[in-house]
């Protein structure tokens, strides 16, 4: 873990190092190309798209596709653009993140400090759930929600996201709490703290870093979800990803690729924003989810 670089710093570029830089640049271009194409296509008008090279910069900037994608593009008979989907995604994401992170934090806390017989058996079952393909659970879960009267409603989709977020979130909270010094917990116990008090006054104040990781993981995960939103959200709450797909895949009419690309960018703005803002935390979230996932 020493931060001192070992060996002499390369003072001049060797052939090998030049080759390495060339390779890494080519890779970077490959990774950037779709983003570049997305952005420039959204700024061209359709005539130019039909006539010119997909990789060329636009000759004339045209911004008309952006407002169109946002508020006028059609999905079937409704022509309201992505706007309703954006607000639906917010309505779905915010409560789902709060509920799933809160619940999983309590789970992790209970598993780390208040172990009872059988607790880890159920934890194992829960972790096993993380690997079951959604397709196995979608229909029975739909039946359960139907029986509860929340199928195709906002609470219905929130519950589904809470269920499927729980395994991985519980795992990372548990792993974080286990790494805290146990003496802290013991001291709080001696001072007469009970389950709720210790959680509120000792654990929560120390949970900021892992909570940020969990929130980032959930915000991007839920925002990017397609399948669950499609099945459980219902017609009135369709998330942005579902609407995006509907807008782009319409069978009839002239395909407007610039509008499609604007819509695609708009849909990925939130997760990209989270990614660029959070940087290191995003990476930490991946690592936390993967270490023992």
């Amino acid at each position: 873990m020493s931060s001192i670089p070992s060996g002499p710093r390369p003072k001049y570029l060797t052939v090998g190092r030049i080759g390495m830089y060339c390779f890494i640049l080519v890779c970077a271009l490959f990774f950037l190309m779709p983003l570049y194409v997305m952005v420039i296509t959204s700024l061209k008008d359709m005539d130019e798209i039909r006539a010119a090279n997909i990789l060329n910069l636009p000759k004339e900037l045209s911004f008309y596709s952006w407002p169109k994608a946002w508020s006028q593009a059609c999905t079937g008979f409704v022509c309201e653009g992505l706007k309703p989907g954006f607000f639906n995604s917010i309505k779905i994401t915010v409560p789902s993140v709060i509920v799933s992170v809160g619940l999983s934090a309590i789970n992790g806390y209970a598993l780390a400090f208040w172990r009872f017989k059988g607790a880890y058996f159920f934890f194992g079952l829960c972790m096993f759930g993380a690997f079951i393909p959604y397709q196995v659970m979608v229909y029975p879960l739909l039946k359960i929600e139907d029986a509860l009267g929340i199928y195709s409603t906002l609470p219905g989709i929130i519950l589904v996201h809470t269920i499927f977020g729980m395994p991985i979130l519980t795992l990372i909270f548990r792993n974080f709490y286990v790494s805290l010094p146990i003496d802290l917990f013991k001291a709080a116990r001696i001072d007469g703290g009970n389950f709720i008090k210790i959680f509120l006054y000792v654990i929560i104040p120390m949970s900021a870093p892992i909570t940020i990781v969990a929130v980032i993981l959930q915000v991007t995960g839920i925002w990017n979800d397609f399948l669950l939103g499609l099945v459980f959200a219902g017609r009135d709450n369709q998330p942005m990803t579902v609407q995006l797909n509907n807008i782009v895949q319409v069978d009839y009419g002239v395909a407007e690729y610039n509008v499609d690309m604007s819509a695609t960018i708009l849909t990925s703005l939130v997760p990209l924003f989270v990614y660029f803002i959070s940087g290191r935390w995003f990476v930490r979230g991946i690592a936390a989810g993967a270490i023992k996932g």
Partner: protein, 293 residues
């Protein structure tokens, strides 16, 4: 005494226990039971033994789906591992602009599968996409008609998926590389071992836990692949890029053939268990055994 001490903990974990039992375990049992019936539009308890499975294995479409998932699983996993490892090694060479390159390689991972699919659908568009660009640059022999080619469409899916997921493997591998002791590098350089040899034969074997984790996580994601293909090819041309997940969803929601869908979903579940079981055995049983000794 132990019960009273833990009663709060049990109550706190009740949601997790209920969800694990009803959703994760219950749904599998439900799906299995109804996979033995001839349910069509609604689930009925008219048992027909393993007829649905027999019919499933006779379907040409299911064969294609299984073949596709093997091709996709193989190419995607290997592609992600090789590119991810290579990128991690390159970034580990104390290059300039390290964090910029890391950001570039990881940003696709923040995008949803729907967005990934739609972007690549546009880039690979047979009329206006990259093929057209190459023709405009004078490479008239260049062909990139993968999306409309029955045999190659699945590889287009693989490219899009590797683009999205390689950064994830890079992050995991980089975390592993940064954890390698400096002394090992010192002794390798004293021995005069070539750098690429050290990476391939010394460092890579040391990263085995990381590689195994990456493979398991990627493989678990492979079986789920649905929205990416829906956005990129809609399963086409014809049904050339259909997958088991798509087969299940189709039979549930558009073909009203519940029995088939349940049977196919159970097969999906069994294959996931077959992938996971050896890893879980190694991870949780063998490791604990060694730790105990």
């Amino acid at each position: 005494m132990p019960l009273s001490r833990n009663i709060a903990s049990i109550i706190a974990l009740l949601p997790m226990i209920i969800i694990s039992l009803t959703v994760f375990v219950g749904c599998i049992i439900y799906s299995f039971i109804y996979s033995l019936t001839n349910s069509k539009l609604i689930p009925v308890t008219n048992f027909v033994g393993f007829d649905q499975y027999e019919r499933l294995f006779k379907q040409r479409k299911w064969d294609v789906a299984v073949e596709n998932i093997f091709i996709y699983g193989f190419v995607f996993t290997i592609g992600c591992l090789i590119i991810g490892f290579l990128l991690a090694v390159l970034i580990d060479q104390k290059i300039r602009g390290e964090s910029l390159f890391r950001t570039i390689f990881l940003y696709p991972y923040a995008m949803s599968f729907v967005v990934t699919g739609l972007v690549w659908k546009w880039v690979l568009n047979p009329t206006f996409g990259l093929e057209n660009s190459m023709h405009m640059w004078g490479f008239s022999w260049f062909e990139l008609d993968w999306l409309v080619n029955r045999d190659l469409a699945i590889y287009a899916v693989c490219i899009a998926a590797v683009w999205q997921g390689a950064g994830f493997v890079m992050v995991l591998m980089l975390a592993g590389l940064r954890g390698i002791d400096e002394d090992i590098w010192k002794s390798l350089s004293i021995e005069g071992v070539a750098k690429w040899k050290s990476y391939l034969f010394v460092i890579l074997p040391m990263l085995r836990p990381m590689v195994v984790t990456a493979i398991v996580l990627i493989a678990a994601g492979v079986v789920k692949v649905y929205d990416l293909i829906l956005a990129l090819t809609s399963g086409g041309p014809g049904y050339a890029t259909t997958t088991p997940a798509m087969y299940v969803m189709e039979n549930f929601f558009s073909r009203a053939n519940l029995g088939q869908a349940f049977a196919a979903s159970i097969i999906m579940f069994i294959s996931v268990v077959c992938i996971l079981a050896p890893w879980a055995f190694y991870e949780f049983y063998l490791r604990n055994k060694y730790a105990a000794n």
